[in-house]
């Protein structure tokens, strides 16, 4: 069984990053946008693990960084959900385009 080359994994992670970015651009629902952010962060996680495993197998820095990212992402999600609930209370909607009082 031959090993999957690094470039393939990088391709997947980059694709994931751009799918997340695409979601940020096109979706108007805050929950979906939150999910898009998670996609972007996960693509970074894949990157870290791939680099660590393929290029620098001697130490585990990349893995550690991944754990930090997962933790922070959880905290971000918690904050985001709180903001979304609040937004829903005020606007009766979680569409980001409903809230555009601040401009110019």
């Amino acid at each position: 069984m031959s090993e999957i080359p690094l470039s393939h994994i990088l391709f997947v992670s980059t694709a994931l990053f751009f799918i997340g970015m695409y979601g940020m651009f096109t979706r108007r629902n805050m929950i979906t946008m939150l999910m898009s952010i998670e996609l972007m962060l996960n693509s970074v996680n894949i990157n870290f693990i791939a680099f660590n495993k393929y290029l620098f197998p001697g130490n585990l820095d990349g893995l550690f960084f991944t754990i930090f990212i997962i933790t922070i992402a959880a905290a971000e999600a918690a904050v985001a959900i709180a903001i979304i609930i609040n937004l829903y209370r005020n606007h009766k909607s979680i569409d980001v385009e409903e809230a555009d009082a601040l401009k110019h």
Partner: protein, 632 residues
């Protein structure tokens, strides 16, 4: 003495602190007294310094305060430097400044915010002293900005009035445009010479050859700064507007000291200008254009202070002409004499306004000679001095400018002479309209006409004496007296003089003397006839038509005078005012604002409030940058 230089600026600063912090708790008598005494202290110290410098021709006192920034390639220090150039400025600032402080005690006595006024005035003197005492361009810039700030505060002193506020903002903003040039010039100097101190810059520049592009650039940028501060075309319109401030302020800041900072700066950097002939030519052209335009506009004004303001702009233009010709000592000479007579004229006009209960329109004055004898006499001396009648101070300095113009270029000489003629016309018009003829104000004003108190007339008398004898420090060669100022300043401008020689024959000097005096006599006669004998009063600008003007003058002589001189002059004058000042210059200034605001209207659409758009804009700009960096 060397270690006490810091006391000269520190004294007014102390006065500022006492009046500024004490504000209303300082007794009224005290605050004016404190302010005046601190400036007087500065004057006494300056005299001591002057005597010390007089005895030793090569003495330059340097005092380093601290290093602000130092690296391997550049060093920027804060320090004081007193040489022969700065000591002259010191004497003028503290001397004239002291007189104006004394005068202010009388002039502002009804002002409720007495202490605040003196606090600002002292702060101004402090910054002005920093400006001339600094040992480098950075320190000069600190003072430069500081005096601008104080000027802004003092113009807007009566800030209840919206108009005053607008004038203050205009002065501030126009000065900032000039400062832009100064700042860029400073950066360029720092990059070229690695230092901003005068000795390093001058020694660095003097090793370069004539016409080095970087020197021309520095000289032009510094001149842009001078254009703002010294009210030269096209940045001069703030100065007439600045007359909204109290009159002693106009005398101190907008006539005697601050506006001459630009000239001081050019004299200080004379080595750079000598090595940048192109920049000097620009200085010359701007100077002569300003001098002429302001003189034309001055012909038409009816506000007593506005006439003097335009006259200041015009005289400053003449100083720049001298600078452009390379006659640095002459320019400084004119700065000194101008400080005397223009401060005198402004203070006299203040005395008139005081007596008239705040009225500034000359059409409502007239015949004040009897009610205000001291003011009348001193104003007459000031007028004679500014128009250049011997032996008053203005004659000698103006004569020197004319002589250097003649030595260089006949056209410039003709224009300078013409400008001097215009000066005589508007000044005598002002003088006769105000002090001769019949009183044209209200009954109420007439009853209250009174000579000003002694605190106001004493400075007038002192300044009148100075305007009379002040010119003797620089007598032309034909008088067989030593040119004291020129001798004194020799070490400062030695390098510049090796490049330019401005000598005229003795015959020419005699011709100049006789012809200028006779032309002036004719102008005086005409003005006297028109404004004092025939009691002609200029109409308000809008109701005035050329035909009425002709009707007003019943004699053939006057019609002739009118057709040949007055009407063309008036046309040029209104042309200057309406087209150049209002149309062109305000147009540029406003245009800058319009462009900026319409640009911001366009940018507003980008800030749409929609988050999706924000993110796309961020990513697109990132991708653009990425592609440019990666593939180009």
């Amino acid at each position: 003495m060397e270690q006490f230089i810091w006391l000269i600026p520190a004294l007014p600063l102390l006065g500022f602190l006492i009046n500024g912090i004490g504000n209303k708790s300082v007794p009224r008598g005290m605050s004016g007294l404190v302010a005046s005494i601190t400036v007087l202290g500065g004057f006494i110290l300056s005299v001591v310094l002057f005597l010390q410098l007089l005895s030793d021709p090569n003495l330059v006192i340097q005092q380093k305060l601290f290093t602000w920034m130092a690296t391997s390639t550049m060093e920027v220090d804060f320090g004081f430097m007193v040489d022969r150039l700065s000591v002259i400025m010191l004497l003028v600032i503290t001397g004239v400044g002291f007189l104006i402080h004394v005068y202010s005690m009388g002039y502002m006595h009804e002002e409720p915010d007495y202490a605040r006024y003196f606090a600002y005035l002292n702060l101004f003197v402090f910054f002005m002293l920093i400006l001339v005492l600094g040992s480098g361009y950075l320190m000069m810039f600190v003072g430069w900005e500081g005096v601008g700030l104080c000027s802004y505060l003092l113009i807007g002193f009566w800030f209840k009035n919206n108009d005053y506020n607008a004038a203050a903002s205009k002065a501030f903003i126009m000065n900032r445009i000039g400062d832009l040039g100064f700042l860029l010039g400073m950066f360029l100097m720092l990059q070229t010479f690695g230092s901003l101190s005068y000795d390093k810059v001058i020694s660095g520049a003097s090793t370069m050859s004539v016409g080095t592009p970087v020197l021309t650039a520095i000289a032009l940028l510094l001149f842009v700064g001078a254009m703002g501060k010294s009210a030269q075309l096209p940045l001069y319109t703030w100065l007439p507007d600045a007359m909204a401030g109290p009159t002693p302020v106009s005398a101190l800041i907008h006539a005697a000291t601050m506006v001459t900072a630009g000239i001081y700066m050019v004299v200080r950097s004379n080595v750079i200008y000598v090595l940048a002939p192109f920049a000097s030519e620009i200085v010359l052209i701007v100077g002569i254009l300003t001098a002429l335009l302001a003189a034309f506009v001055g012909l038409k004004q009816t506000d007593i202070k506005k006439v003097l303001a335009y006259s200041t702009v015009s005289q400053l233009g003449l100083m720049f002409v001298a600078l452009g010709l390379g006659a640095y000592k002459t320019a400084l000479f004119h700065v000194v004499t101008h400080a005397f007579f223009k401060a005198l004229l402004f203070l006299c006009s203040g005395s008139v306004i005081h007596a008239m209960g705040g009225e500034q329109d000359m059409r409502k004055m007239g015949g004040l000679k009897k009610a205000l004898p001291i003011t009348h006499l001193t104003f007459l001396i000031g007028t004679l001095a500014i128009t250049g009648i011997p032996p008053f101070a203005g004659f000698f300095s103006k004569d020197e400018i004319m002589a250097s113009a003649f030595a260089t270029n006949g056209w410039i000489f003709a224009l300078v002479c013409f400008c001097a003629l215009l000066t005589a016309i508007y000044m005598f018009r002002l003088y006769f309209l105000t002090f001769h003829g019949e009183f044209r104000g209200s009954q109420h004003q007439q009853e209250h006409l009174h000579e000003s108190p002694a605190s106001m007339t004493t400075p007038l008398i002192v300044l009148a004496i100075l305007s009379t004898i002040g010119g003797f420090i620089g007598m032309p060669e034909i008088m067989h007296a030593p040119h004291l100022l020129s001798r004194f300043l020799k070490p400062v401008t030695a390098m510049a003089e090796s490049y330019t020689s401005l000598h005229v024959t003795h015959t020419f000097e005699y011709i100049l003397l006789v012809s200028s005096v006779s032309i002036l006599a004719i102008v005086i006669w005409f003005s006297h006839r028109k404004y004092a004998v025939q009691k002609h009063v200029p109409a308000a600008p809008q109701e005035l038509s050329g035909f009425q003007w002709v009707l007003h003058n019943k004699f053939f002589v006057d019609e002739f005078y009118d057709a040949i001189i007055v009407r063309p002059l008036r046309m040029v004058s209104s042309l200057g005012y309406r087209w150049i000042e209002q149309g062109f210059i305000d147009g540029i200034v406003n245009g800058f604002g319009t462009v900026a605001t319409s640009l911001s209207a366009a940018l507003r659409y980008l800030q749409s409030g929609a988050i999706g758009f924000y993110m796309i804009a961020m990513v697109i700009s990132f991708i653009v940058v990425f592609f440019i960096q990666m593939f180009l």
